[in-house]
Symmetry: C2
Subunit: 454 residues, 2 copies
């Protein structure tokens, strides 16, 4: 036999059982998106490389999957560049298209391209795969789904409150206990302004994040190593020491950075979001985390991150506000805010906690046996009656040994087997066997429907 075929590394096949579990996640997220008034769009897998390049940093450009031009792909290639080994530029001559890297840039492109047909504010959701030429490793794939919801064309903080509420709803439905962490880019800017080190903002957030683990002195030492002046570290210290309830932390932070314009605005925004969420009420734990520095390159206001409480895993959902996403395509002053659910990590969490509802295990309820041509014909008429009642069912196609047919029914996890032998066929009835209890009884197709639906 030939060598067993395989798929590219970092990609996956999904079996019926895996599909059922994944669809449970996608359907839950989709239902909540719809419930909140978000509307679906889809964009092509391939985008022009000019749309994608330069949007994800130099590293991101390298991780784009590029598609070789059709026909004479060497035509546009500058041979001297090729000889000089300038592979990045030659790649852009060999390829004018690439696979989408995320759903955010295609969405920005969509908004600008269709702006005359869109009524703003535009609340869209999008659930599609993305591709990245990352080194594959556990939990990181080269093809994976993103589930994004964004509003563009509104700078109201009601959008943030709605998004937090929506996150809460999704994970309540999935029965995953979570903590939603909030921060605001303007608070970080305020801190940086206060201590006079705006370029050290990432180092500062890393340090704040470590305070509980390594203690104040070690953090101060690390900050000094990272080039922060002693005076700046001194000014930062009271911020590092902030504790208490969220309300107390916001109050203390306000006293420390409220004197800066950015800080004051950031505090005001985060207070509005916390107050708004408190008024409608959510189940999830909601906290302020000034070490949260997710997407610092593009987020301009609120920053959101979600952690699962009962499983050790990275962020399972994240998002934030970006004030100039469509600006990269020439449409200015359109503020947006959105979140992205990480379906693959949520899948890992549900597997770890075994939280799938029972009905995700099988989709077929009844299998009819096949005991010969006449019996099969009788069975197929009854099968039709069951299907008309909406019961997913099938007939074993071949007249194989009973044992083989039952083994198939077992493997599929069907709830009932409908046995139609010579006697049943003649009488227009079936023997319905409950595969869980082993009980069986002779019934009409109508009686079978009543039993199965009960």
């Amino acid at each position: 036999m030939a060598q067993k075929p395989s798929i590219p590394k970092g990609t996956r096949d999904f079996s019926p059982v895996e599909m059922a579990r994944r669809n449970y996640i996608f359907d839950t997220i989709r239902d909540v998106f719809r419930l909140y008034g978000y509307r679906p769009i889809e964009t092509p897998a391939m985008e022009n490389l000019s749309t994608l390049l330069g949007k994800y940093g130099e590293e991101g450009d390298k991780l784009l999957f590029k598609i070789l031009n059709s026909g004479d792909y060497m035509r546009g290639v500058d041979m001297s560049m090729l000889e000089n080994g300038d592979l990045n530029r030659v790649a852009c001559q060999l390829c004018e298209k690439g696979l989408r890297y995320d759903l955010t840039v295609p969405f920005a492109r969509y908004v600008v391209q269709h702006r005359n047909d869109i009524t703003f504010p535009f609340k869209r959701f999008q659930i599609q795969p993305v591709w990245r030429a990352d080194r594959p490793q556990k939990g990181r794939y080269r093809e994976f789904y993103q589930c994004d919801a964004d509003v563009v064309g509104s700078d109201s903080l009601i959008n943030e409150i709605e998004l937090v509420s929506m996150i809460d709803e999704v994970f309540r439905r999935l029965k995953i206990n979570i903590e939603i962490k909030l921060n605001n880019r303007k608070i970080l800017a305020g801190i940086a302004e206060l201590i006079g080190a705006p370029e050290k903002i990432v180092d500062i957030t890393v340090a704040i994040d470590k305070i509980d683990k390594i203690g104040l002195d070690a953090v101060k030492e690390e900050l000094a190593e990272r080039g922060l002046e002693p005076e700046a570290i001194e000014k930062l210290t009271p911020i590092l020491l902030i504790d208490g309830s969220t309300a107390e932390r916001i109050e203390k932070l306000s006293q420390l950075i409220g004197s800066t314009e950015s800080g004051r605005l950031g505090i005001e925004e985060i207070k509005t979001v916390f107050d708004g969420v408190a008024k409608i009420g959510i189940d999830a734990r909601l906290t302020l985390d000034v070490s949260l520095a997710r997407g610092l390159n593009y987020y301009t206001g609120t920053i959101i991150e979600v952690k699962a409480l009962d499983v050790e895993i990275g962020s399972i959902t994240g998002g934030g506000r970006y004030d100039n996403l469509t600006g990269i395509f020439g449409l200015k002053d359109v503020s947006g805010v959105g979140i992205s659910f990480g379906a693959d990590r949520i899948y890992d969490v549900l597997n770890a906690l075994d939280l799938y509802p029972e009905e995700t295990s099988s989709s077929v309820e009844v299998m009819f046996t096949n005991m010969g041509a006449n019996e099969a014909t009788a069975a197929m008429k009854m099968l039709r009656t069951l299907r008309e009642a909406g019961i997913a069912s099938e007939i074993y196609p071949d007249t194989s040994k009973m044992q083989k047919q039952m083994k198939y029914a077992d493997a599929l996890g069907v709830k009932y087997v409908a046995i139609v032998g010579e006697t049943e066929a003649a009488a227009g009835v079936l023997t319905l066997k409950n595969m869980t209890t082993g009980d069986q009884q002779e019934v009409t197709p109508e009686q079978a429907i009543a039993i199965i639906k009960a």
Copy 2:
């Protein structure tokens, strides 16, 4: 402003309205697949080129989208080949992956790769996009969805009967009048054997197809031009003249080609399928069409094609039996039969006949107005109550002029607007405006739920 961004030719964005219509099609097909006991799988967008190459003929190989290798993609390139302009072979050195061209080859690969985990017969469905570097034209895209259902590991003709019944069910639900045409590869082989010209089988089917349009004499002339001997044309003539009901046609055909082994088998198979379908009963017109030569390269038994009766358009669904699909990957003697629904053409048919149900037009039922911070807070609490009752609803995020908010509600096609002003907010009620009738009344959130659900 910068140049408006665009997408690669032959690809499409789908707006919320288009998504609703497309999902109506996909959901209908998916529901019927499940009802018939088919189970979903998904395969990666990218396959190894070695999996795809040589499976679709020389022309197909050219239409594969190939993905440039990551990193130093020139490393494996034979420079002398490049200098000789052997672009096809160099492409395979530059690229080791390609985008899937259909769902059939990836499915065959899946079956072989996972054969130890699969219980046969394996009934799978798959609804995913495919990509072809075809010249884009009206109704032909470079990215489009296929909706496939196949059974592998069973040569029972019950599968064919089930597939015909399933096609009938899908189009009955979509309210599209169709004709299902059947043929059998073995009948074609019998005809070719009878007239001693097996290599002319395609010419013969083309000729049979034209008989109604151009008449017997013109068809004979054409066959002669295509190199068929006079004697062969003479033998073919009675077959060209077959008419009557399906039963009569099968009977006449049986008399003519029943003497050949292939012909006899083909007639037997097609009779079994027609008889089986007649016993369970379908709505669609079912006919024998011996000119049907779809997929002659790989189909070995039944051939199926579906035409819409009320719209001029090509085949909207097709399929057949293939006896050696997995053989290309080294797993022999696994017979399969399947069908593929052409979602894009079905979309065109539904648009042409305006057959979409009303509920595909909007997904949001209620929009709450935003008349200030206090009013919005009150509205958001009521919004939560409506959502808990499963009513898709939203609040206009900004405190804009009423006119602008109503325009947004109109554009979205919401059924109700919930107005929450100062008085309503204080009383915990809302003024519910029916956007179709214009009627409005002050109600509690609970009353609103009852009205909306009625």
